[in-house]
Amino acid sequence: MVNPIYIFAIALGVGFLLSLFDKVSRYLSLLMFYGALGSFLFFSGGWFYEFINGAAVKQIFTAGFNPPYSINLQLGIHESFFILMINAVGFLGGIYLYDRFIKDSISSMILFLMAIMGFNGIVLTGDIFNLFVFIEVSSIAIYSLVVFDKNLKSLSAGFKYIIAGGIASAFFLIGTIFIYRYTGTLLISDIGNVMTVGKIGITAVFLLFISLIIELKPFPVNGWALDVYESVNPGIAAIISGAAMTASFFAMAKVLATIGQTWYDATMWIGIITFAGSNLLGIKQKNSNRLLGYSSLGQIGLLMIILGFSKELGDKRDFIAAGILFSHVFAKAGLFWIAGILKAENIKDWAVIRKKPVLLVLFATFIFTLIGLPPFPSFFAKWELVMTLMKGNFFLIVAAILLFSFFEGLYLFRWLGYALKLDNENTPDLNVNFTKVTSIILAGLFLYAGGYYAGTFIEAAKGINYIPIIFILFIGLIDILPSKLKNTISIAGVIAYSYYIYPMFQHDLLKMIFLFIFLGGAVITLFGGYYAEGRRAGFHAMALTMFAGLLMLIEAGTLLEFFYGWELMSIGSYFLLIRGKKSMPHGFSYMLFSLGGAYTIMFGFALAFAGSGDISLLALKDISIYPALAYSLMLIGFMTKTASIGLHVWLPGAHGEAVADIHFMASAILLKAGVFGIIIVLLAMGRDSSYAKVILYTLGWIGAISALVGNLTAVFQESAKKLLAWSSIGQIGYIIFALASMSYIGWVGALFYSIAHFLYKGILFSVIGGIALKLGTPYMYKMGGLIKKMPFSFLAVLIAILTLSGVPPLVGFSGKWLFYNIILFEKLLFQGAVVMVSGMVAFLYLYRLIDTIFLGQPKDELRETGEISIWLLIPVYFLIAVIMYISIFPKQLLQPLGNLVQNYFPENAITWQGSTAITKFGYFDASIIMYVVMAIFGAVFIWLVYNVRRAHKVKQFNIVYAGESPDLPETTHYAYNFLASYKKGVGFLAEPVVDRFWEWTSDAVHALADQIRRVYTGNGQTYALQIMIYTIIVYFFINGGF
């Protein structure tokens, strides 16, 4: 093992010699500089490797003396991990700044080296005064590097930084002197002893403590730190946020370990305030570097919470802290480095990043890491943190952590949305040089590798299947190939994987149903994707990510695996939904609801885990701690995906902008993930407990109202795609209503409907989406008379609509029949009435689809149009074939569904006689109905054909024009405001009250953040005063008075 003293020897030696060798050649000094940084990285990597393989902790005393006369260093697994991160960021950061170091004064290199050496020293030293010296060495180096770019902003920020740092170091020095005076030792491991000498000892410890706290930049006395992040060169900001913060955090941990529980508690509360304050105020920030500053401060807050909970987290603490810290260090450094390349101050100017797709991918990687999404280490760390704290009954603190994580997600996703969607036409090209990108790519790779490695540490994540993820990575790597080729590979991949996992779920019908919807849906939608020409950048990787997530929901055996799949699916679908032209706000609100929903699910899961200590999905049964809250939260979380009323505001916009095959994926398939989640929760909850009755009753009403409002709002849409989107909300409302009945017939109905909805909605989305794509508009009043141009589309839509409306003889009728039975069996008369009314409302918009798109007069500009893409029609006619089969033989589906549901709800089963289904209230035989309807239809059809020869054909322009031309031509079109008369009567039900509520909430939170952030006055003296007052308050808080 190399002696760690060499780090200091090399740093100081090279530091002195650099200016000398620089006289010879800049390349020589650069070689020495990178050699030094590289050797630090190499040494610390070697040490870490030795320690994870069980080497013993090493103490080093210098110059043959014992402490306090010698400098003593300690090197163990913790130290080696921390300096490994510091030196990795130092090395990558040095490479990143290569283009500056090659031309700037040699002093930059020396200062950089000294800063990194100082951070190493802070981690390694075991001596309190030494700690002070290393803090000062690194601080002075950083103070000087702040003005790396000599401009007014960085000068004034640096000055404020020195003021704050000066106060902190004065406190530290006084504390150190007191400690030596009363104990005669400078060993950090012994400073706890000073507290036995009375109040002066406690004051001494307090001074050390507050000094380290100030170094960690607690809210609200961290305005100076934000100024530094905003103004300093991003290459240096990455070092401050990554390496300096890592070192300060370790110093804090080292001191806390010797001084007792009170101080841990104080750290925890300071951490919570910092985490909350920083993330709340971040939502108002527009400057990208300052925003990264807010995020950095928030992450430090989270780390302080983890540190404060050392005792409660026990042996999990190190994993959690390491996961969060590792993620923060590389993600934040990466983001600062990207900021340095883009030179775009306002987050709205980040759209320029799309000119370099590699940077965009890395940007998204870093954002996801910070939020704690899979597959990054922060995801696992956050999961363990929430679960362990919950087990210790810290419910409110967990709730606070999740709430303010949500705010962090809010501003980071808004930023990502800007980068993905805003216009970048008028921005100059990006000049990216090799050294800069190398650092960023390596940081990104570390995060992926770290995520995989972190997953192997957790028992509950052992079952995560990485095969689909590897396949997605492969598809991502071949993204430059044409879309059609990637499509073929993707379909082959999905089919091969389906074949591989089929035997595992063969005997579990419930899972098979959803497996069919998810994987069958994947094949069908991807097949439709052949219509797309060109490259379709990123589409396949993201679609497969979504399907992999969905698949993982089914495969999951533990809570963590389920949640992993859930988040993966959210990420994939976010990227799909944001592809539409005007999708930015909708993709954003989709992600916010997903994130909020994910956190409520996580909280519910954590309650389940806390009660049982079980990591498997079985923990959801018989939750012992706040079961009503746990089940409600999980249901709310899942209902963000089913877009039930109240949580639906993201859906119409997001789906309305999505192109045909994505619309199919997002609506007919993605929403079923929520249904699957609700099924799992309801199965676990049962229907017998008193709270279950209340929850189910409420859920039933939510379903019924979703059905009514969804269908009714669909009636008043002008855009065919939005119409279908609203209709999805209504349709899923039916399913939720049926599930909430918790009865045999209800569940058979719900599962049957889930499949039927997949079939006919798939048809409608593909065809209507295909038409909108072909005509370039989704507005129905711009269509009309397309029946002769698109006969196959017309027939498909007609069949889908007949199915959806529930008239005989198609499968929709079986669904309706089941629904009548639910209402009668369960005596859900009021809810049932609402559901039935909304079923009739559905006729209105379905009729509108046929009438305004296919019937009527063809538009002049659409005279030359033709049928939609064959690639969309093939899967559509496949789905029609399935519908026909199930329509004639519903027993084939209903009987196995019945057998399945009978396991859960044995009473009131449907009995079968041949092809006739019988319940207490009646019977129906789909085959006979089909024959009867076919016979009647056939007769009428023959009669029509016979009569049509006598019809007199009217040419389209054989009419008389009169009057003036209106200003807004569409307002006079019959298809515009088509069902206006209904609006007068029931339009109030379609008012967007829920949208207004969420808007109001958002405005209120933003206004609050805007008020609070005024504590950051920008004045250095005010900041000094704030620090002093803060110090006094914390002193009172800890000691309860003088």
Binding site: P68, Y69, F129, V133, E136, I140, Y143, S144, V147, K150, N151, L152, K153, L155, S156, A157, G158, F159, K160, I162, G166, S169, L173, T176, I177, Y180, L186, G223, L226, D227, E230, S231, K284, Q285, R1013, R1014, Y1016, T1017, G1018, N1019, G1020, Q1021
Partner: protein, 50 residues
């Protein structure tokens, strides 16, 4: 044995050196800031806030 504890001496000396370094750095900051803006009042340097 009559000897002064060397630790406080080392401590004080080091603190003086560090203090001097920081003061010198602040002074050079002040010079640069004056060059850029022509003022030594800290109230004039509030461009960065919120």
């Amino acid at each position: 044995m009559k000897a002064v504890d060397p630790v406080p001496s080392a401590l004080v000396l080091t603190a003086i050196v560090i203090g001097l370094a920081v003061t010198a750095l602040m002074l050079s900051y002040a010079v640069q800031m004056y060059k850029k803006k022509g003022s030594l009042s800290i109230d004039k340097y509030e461009e960065l806030k919120w």
